[in-house]
């Protein structure tokens, strides 16, 4: 692995973790779509600020972009408050408006402006190592890594220091307000943080993929834990995993690094969705299969109980007859009988007929009454 590869991956990790942390709160606040809106509309701030300072690395760009991000949130909320449109429609109306102005400006002044539309949309993390930060003739590493590192630090600091306020206003904004923690203030401060993060990340991975890195890792983490601190740590970790695996995927198939990172974030989520211990799809299928088997076991016990001692008991209470009477497939019938035997509800006699154990009788009676 070359030094450049190393630098790219370091930046990718820092970008992914920076995105995942505020992303976790976006998911919990049910504002995932807002990340999409912000990551697009900040482009307008960047373009306008660029016209003023004519330097793509100027810090004013970040400030202007963050301001447009917050403006987006405010406009969406104002539009929603008119009650003429729903919130998702408000989001879909506001950000394309701001984004389109930015795209028009870039394309119109493309000649004189060194802002490349492709780079804006998809980022250029591969070139990040070539833009160095030099101080007094010393090479301090990629400029992007410094900027994103600072943003990561800011995110960490904000979340650690205001953890309690963020948590309260996310869980119960009403109580937060009643206790004197202005949830509106927390909301806008948090959205500023999201905007600043989006600006920084956008330089590396472009405006479209910021969303994937903000939402997919926390959404996966949400399936894996029900403790907030762990959710934050897992979000960051899954983001980092997506970044590194995405980098190597891109290397392997010679494709866009940013695109591969976002794809891996999606794959991470998919894996969590399928295999999460409690809330995963597979766990759910297993649970339902077990419940079905358990229920069938009780049904079997009730069936045997009903025919017990009757004239046709020997004929009815056989595995082969269950198929007919309980409409079970032969396979399933055998499975249920085995399950019921394992649970000690049923025993089979010498002639293959089934009879209830004391426990089985008790269960069957109990379930019939309730």
């Amino acid at each position: 692995m070359s030094w450049i590869d190393f630098e790219i991956q370091a930046l990718a990790i820092v970008v992914a973790v920076s995105c995942a942390l505020p992303g976790a709160f976006l998911v919990l606040r049910r504002m995932a779509l807002m990340s999409d809106a912000i990551s697009h509309s900040i482009l307008l701030g960047i373009v306008l600020a660029f016209f003023v300072v004519e330097d793509i690395t100027h810090p004013l760009l970040i400030l202007a972009a963050a301001a447009t991000g917050v403006l987006t949130v405010a406009l969406v909320e104002a539009l929603h408050r008119t009650r003429k449109v729903k919130e998702d429609a408000a989001i879909a109306l506001v950000f394309p408006a701001l984004f389109s102005v930015a795209v028009i400006l870039i394309s119109r002044y493309a000649g004189s402006v060194h802002l490349d539309l492709d780079a804006v949309l998809l980022g250029e993390i591969a070139f990040a190592p070539f833009r160095r930060l030099e101080l007094w003739g010393m090479d301090l590493g990629p400029r992007g890594l410094w900027m994103m590192g600072a943003i990561l630090l800011l995110n960490l600091l904000a979340i650690v220091v205001f953890y309690k306020e963020l948590k309260l206003s996310t869980f119960d904004a009403g109580l937060a307000a009643a206790l004197g923690f202005s949830p509106a203030l927390v909301h806008y401060a948090f959205m500023t943080l999201v905007s600043v993060t989006a600006v920084g990340a956008f330089d590396s991975v472009g405006s479209i993929l910021v969303v994937a890195l903000m939402i997919a890792p926390p959404a996966a983490a949400y399936l894996l834990t029900d403790r907030l601190p762990l959710l934050l740590v897992l979000s960051g970790a899954l983001g980092a995993v997506s970044a590194v695996s995405g980098f190597w995927l891109a290397r392997g198939i010679d494709a866009s690094i940013a695109g591969s990172m976002a794809a891996m974030a999606g794959v991470t989520f998919l894996l969590a969705l399928l295999f999460a211990p409690d809330r995963g799809v597979v766990a759910g299928v297993r649970r339902r299969a077990r419940q079905r088997l358990e229920f069938a076991g009780v049904m079997l016990a009730i069936h045997v109980l009903n025919h017990e001692g009757g004239p046709r008991a020997r004929a009815e209470n056989r595995v082969e007859h269950l198929q007919e009477h309980l409409r079970w497939s032969p396979d399933f019938a055998r499975k249920v009988v085995r399950h019921a035997q394992r649970e000690g509800l049923i025993a089979s006699g010498s002639g293959g007929e089934l009879h209830l154990t004391a426990l089985g009788r008790e269960h069957a009676r109990h379930r019939m009454l309730h």
């Binding site: 919990l28 309260l168 869980f171 009403g174 109580l175 307000a177 009643a178 206790l179 834990t225 403790r227």
Partner: protein, 271 residues
């Protein structure tokens, strides 16, 4: 002690130019249990939110313990409607109860050992100490309600505002909550609770506010809980009216009426 715990004068609240509270005047007696009753959409939640400064009134004045809400804030506890939060939020019972201590901590400071022991005490009072580390999504409706009550108790307030604290609870939880409310009253605290089951108002509460956009009546249950007032509030179709209105004062002195077993069993709950 102040003459009134909560004083509301000419309160009007409108959402999008539609008044949901219209010129409401109200005095809440300190040291009493007061029920707010009225049909759905009557503005009960809005009234509580207005007292807490969560919605801004179009007109009117509100004093809590003789001061503005901001000044009285540290002495007011709030139990929101259970459905107003996301119970899938990744947090534990103890953590939710600890939120009640946030007000006294102020910005940035985190709850410590002292707050934690207070939270555990509050959980004990509502019989939920065994659930401290339980994930909140695993709670039944009644348990959620008790957690919210515990969260209000840690605030150690003098005025408690509760929005439907009995909503979706089983008989046992209802008793437990009533016991806690009575304990608060014994300490001289004031409780105002939105309450839906009219038949239990005379048994549980001292005073009642009957509300439907306007304040229809307020005062001691025995005086205001009349068939006529309830008819005005509920528009003629009063649920459980028989044996409640009119007989209110009698019901307060006699032992509580037998609880309807059908009604109770309809809401089973594992605790």
């Amino acid at each position: 002690m102040t003459e009134t715990a909560i004083e509301v004068n000419d309160l009007t609240v409108a959402y999008h130019e539609r008044p949901v509270l219209w010129d409401v005047d109200l005095r809440v007696r300190p040291g009493a249990l007061t029920a707010i009753v009225g049909p759905n959409g009557a503005g009960k939640t809005t009234l509580i939110k207005a007292i807490l400064g969560l919605v801004s009134p179009a007109a009117g004045q509100i004093r809590v313990l003789g001061r503005s809400y901001r000044e009285a804030r540290s002495e007011v506890a709030y139990v929101p409607q259970r459905g107003s939060v996301d119970w899938d939020f990744p947090t534990s019972v103890l953590d939710v109860v600890l939120m009640g201590t946030y007000g006294s901590l102020g910005w940035i400071r985190r709850p410590g050992k002292r707050e934690e022991s207070r939270a555990r005490e509050a959980l004990e009072k509502v019989g939920m100490e065994a659930f401290a580390h339980r994930q909140i999504s695993q709670l039944s409706g009644g348990q959620q309600q008790r957690v919210f009550l515990a969260r209000a108790l840690v605030q150690d307030a003098r005025v408690y505002l509760m929005d439907e604290p009995f909503q979706g609870v089983d008989a046992r939880t209802e008793r437990a909550i009533v016991d806690v409310l009575r304990e608060l009253r014994e300490r001289g605290d004031t409780v105002v609770a939105v309450h839906h089951a009219l038949q239990t108002v005379p048994e549980y509460f001292d005073d009642a506010v009957i509300l439907n956009v306007r304040r229809i009546a307020s005062g001691p249950v025995g005086e205001v809980f009349t068939e006529e007032n309830l008819r005005v509030a509920y528009g003629g179709r009063v649920p459980f009216l028989q044996g409640v209105a009119g007989g209110a004062s009698a019901a307060r002195d006699s032992p509580p009426p037998p609880e309807s077993p059908v009604d109770r069993r309809a809401r089973p709950e594992a605790t």
